[in-house]
Amino acid sequence: MSAAVDRATVTVAQVPPGAVRDQLDGVLAVLRRRLDRYLRIAEIGQALLPDDETTDLDGTAPGMAPYLDGAALEIDLRLRAASAHLSAVAAAIEQIVVTDAGYRAPDEVVSAVGRLVGVPAAP
């Protein structure tokens, strides 16, 4: 999730000052606040069912997902949706920037952005 927001930040930084840049800065600010919320939710998941990737003393080997159910599974699904949402938004921002810079046909951008951000809803 942090990587998606970083990717969006780098993309927006390439846009020259103007209205598009202002709008994208606004979107970026929302994404950062959203990322902060998702990190808090991840903290709660870790508090409920800790999974330490540096040891197998917690019951799972590093890199192996623990068995989840109940509230832990709900949190995991929520964070997966959040991750997909942030990645889609970062990709949509890239599409807009590429089109705005003249590297893509204008009539394609609406459908491309719609495809990217239409599927995963923000949890």
């Binding site: 979107v27 929302v30 508090a47 921002i93 807009i96 089109t99």
Partner: protein
């Protein structure tokens, strides 16, 4: 001359031994019963960690208020685990040594006459229920904590970006040259 009265600090109340969950106290062996009781302790520890993640506020206050109720439930689970470990040290299964002795009986293999699990007066069910209850409390605390970070009035970023993409496309199609030209259109 006035005599200053010495204030004596009241004796601290004895701490509840179950206030801090410890899967090794009481000692209930190393097998099944300890594992189930350990799950009860894990639930209490999870509750404490979840409460710690919450920002100060009425909801956290309520969870802190409810916390003293939990050691009593943990103590009940500990008693159940202790009795179960005493009666059924091999867990919810027949003692292997006993089965071996009965199998070696000169008359017959008597181990076959026994049911696969020893008769349990409901200890296992009661302990599993206690563990489930404690976990339900911890899970409800987690669900409440997640709700603190929900934002029902979150900005609709997809709609925002779709609108922006439409604006960019319209501006480019209208022949406005070069990037960063959309001050008027947006």
């Amino acid at each position: 001359m006035t005599r200053r009265s010495r204030t004596v600090a009241p004796d601290p109340e004895p701490a509840d031994p179950f206030d801090r969950a410890d899967a090794w106290a009481p000692a209930v062996g190393f097998g099944y019963w300890r594992a189930v009781y350990g799950g009860c302790c894990d639930a209490l520890l999870a509750y404490d960690r979840i409460t710690a993640t919450m920002p100060p506020g009425p909801l956290r206050g309520k969870l802190v208020e409810l916390r003293p109720e939990l050691p009593a439930r943990l103590a009940r689970a500990a008693r159940l685990a202790e009795v179960a470990a005493l009666l059924f040290p091999a867990g919810p299964a027949r003692e292997p040594a006993l089965l071996a002795l009965l199998a070696d009986d000169p008359l017959d293999d008597l181990s076959r006459r026994l049911s696969p699990v020893p008769p349990d007066p409901g200890l296992r069910e009661a302990l599993l229920t206690a563990r489930e209850e404690l976990w339900r409390v911890a899970e409800d605390a987690a669900r409440l904590a997640v709700r603190v970070w929900e934002n029902p009035t979150a900005t609709d970023v997809p709609a925002w970006l779709t609108g922006l993409a439409g604006g960019v496309a319209t501006a480019l199609a209208a022949g406005v040259p070069g990037p960063c030209h959309l001050e008027d259109e947006l």
